[in-house]
């Protein structure tokens, strides 16, 4: 059984149909990359998986259980599916450690002192242990994004979603964030990425999906996808970005 499965997911904002019936499966421990032009529906699809935006039609199954039922309480689902945004969205009035500890403290009710060893270990794992008491505006873009990843991981999610998390970074800072993803991949985390980093997708993805105008136009293992795309539009897109 797939870890996460989408069947005919449709989402529109007003007259603008952003996702037009998307089917997709993500196996446990897999890394799936969504690629496509801006406005092709990648971000919206990720926000739907995290229930930040409710789907208009279609079904999302997590471990075979429908999580897209209208009226379902989204909070327990969001604790199992973490998301990291392009613009980091750290809380500017809290230092890095407080950013990370807020959700476990409030949602699981764990005391700060009880959390500290785990959180420190998490910061240490991603080379950020000396940045724990820094505020977001004292951190570089790359460090902020790594803290945002640590913040999502602190809830011990089963799946991580990444929404173009390197797009807002200076080129020399992209590497340190991609290294974090590599590390998570090696640890067997199930991940879905919307990304423009084609080299990274090619190197590490289990599957690449090309979104075009709200549909998955083509999908497949990266070797086949990048060397021998079937669709004309995929070829045109790859010619522009590679």
């Amino acid at each position: 059984m797939a870890k996460l499965e989408l069947q005919g997911v449709t989402k529109s904002f007003g007259d603008n149909i952003v996702c037009k019936g998307i089917d997709m499966t993500v196996g446990a421990g897999e890394m799936v990359c969504l690629i496509g032009a801006s406005g092709s529906g990648k971000s919206t699809l990720l926000r739907c998986m995290n229930l930040l935006d409710p789907v208009d039609d279609g079904v999302i199954l997590l471990d075979g259980v429908d999580i897209s039922v209208p009226g379902l309480d989204p909070q327990p689902v969001r604790q199992r599916i973490g998301i990291v945004f392009q613009s980091f969205n750290l809380f500017p009035h809290m230092n890095a450690a407080e950013n990370v500890m807020l959700a476990p403290r409030r949602v699981h009710g764990t005391a700060r002192d009880a959390l500290l060893p785990d959180v420190t270990a998490l910061f240490d794992r991603f080379g950020l242990v000396d940045r724990m008491d820094h505020y977001p505006d004292q951190l570089s873009g790359g460090q902020q994004q790594r803290v945002a990843i640590v913040r999502a991981l602190a809830m011990k999610p089963e799946i991580m979603l990444f929404d173009e998390i390197t797009s807002a970074l200076d080129p020399e800072l992209v590497g340190e964030v991609l290294d974090v993803l590599r590390q998570l991949r090696a640890e067997g985390m199930t991940m879905v990425l919307a990304t423009h980093e084609m080299g990274f997708a090619r190197e590490l993805a289990d599957k690449v999906c090309f979104l075009d105008k709200g549909r998955i136009l083509e999908e497949g293992p990266p070797d086949q996808f990048f060397t021998n795309p079937k669709e004309e539009r995929t070829r045109a897109f790859l010619a522009r970005v590679l």
Binding site: F85, F91, L102, A103, V107
Partner: protein
């Protein structure tokens, strides 16, 4: 200013064309500003004493003897203004926050709460402060309450709190709405509830962001405390009135105005400074 570059180590370096031009522009604007200010002051000093009633005005508004005699009494009366301000300000802050949160209530069961918030701000921003002071200050004690509870201090302060809380609530609401949607997204994506998102993520940022705007309201409150004199308490405005009747001279009012300015000018400058700092930080 033109001397300044010579003090640097690279003393020999001449000014660039741009620097020379800007120094010239600066000298010219300083000269013009100085001349025009001097002209205006001269005009006022020469012209006002020419007015036919100047001697009388000087005697009844700017009388040094009366100023010296009444100033200590005015200062003492001003302590009452300070006291009323000091215990209404925190109440206004709290009530304003509660009203702002009422207006933000989203769930349908809480619709009455939201309606209350809307009506409250509409009504109390729509009535002149002095009217609220009269209605509450005379109306409530008129119910025949027992002794300490019919004091005009209490009900006058309540009137100020009711009115100013409406304005403060609107300021808080604008602060809450100014926090970017992505902060709410980030918070809910971590599994935090609406209430926790508001309490730990939105409010701390919103309250800080509207500090300068709220400071301006509290400066206005500081002055409006004088309105309570209409329902009884002998604060500075009323005390000045007493001196005026006693001495048949308006100088005590000028003294009272100076005392207010001594508080409000530094406070306004400080609020401006905070605002500037904030807009610099955001740009």
């Amino acid at each position: 200013m033109a001397e300044l570059p010579k003090t640097h180590a690279a003393a020999a370096r001449p000014l660039t064309r741009r620097q020379a031009y800007e120094a010239q522009v600066r000298r010219r604007s300083v000269t013009i500003a100085g001349l025009s200010t001097a002209a205006v002051i001269l005009f006022l000093v020469v012209l006002i004493p020419q007015a036919p009633g100047w001697a009388a005005v000087k005697k009844s508004f700017f009388n040094p003897d009366i100023f010296a005699k009444t100033f200590p009494g005015l200062l003492e009366a001003f302590l009452l203004d300070m006291a009323i301000f000091a215990w209404s300000a925190p109440l206004i802050f709290i009530l304003g926050l509660v009203i702002a949160l009422c207006r933000d209530a989203r769930s349908p069961a809480l619709y009455p709460v939201r309606l209350f918030g809307i009506l409250y701000t509409d009504i109390f921003r729509g009535i002149p402060v002095i009217l609220v002071i009269y209605l509450v200050g005379f109306g409530v004690p008129g119910l025949g309450l027992p002794r300490p509870y019919n004091s005009p201090f209490i009900w006058g302060t309540v009137a100020l709190v009711l009115t100013y809380a409406a304005y403060v609530a609107e300021v808080f609401r604008s602060g809450i709405e100014s926090i970017h949607q992505s902060q709410r997204s980030a918070s809910s994506s971590l599994g935090l509830s609406h209430a926790d998102t508001m309490r730990y993520v939105i409010l701390p940022q919103a309250v800080r962001r509207v500090v300068p705007a709220n400071m301006n309201l509290f400066i206005a409150l500081q002055k409006d405390v004088a309105l309570l004199s209409f329902i009884g308490p002998v604060e500075i405005f009323r005390q000045a009135g007493v001196y005026k009747s006693l001495l048949a001279n308006f100088t005590p009012y000028v003294g009272a105005a100076l005392i207010f300015l001594a508080i409000t000018i530094p406070a306004t400058r400080y609020a401006d400074y905070l605002l500037q700092k904030q807009s610099r930080a955001r740009s």
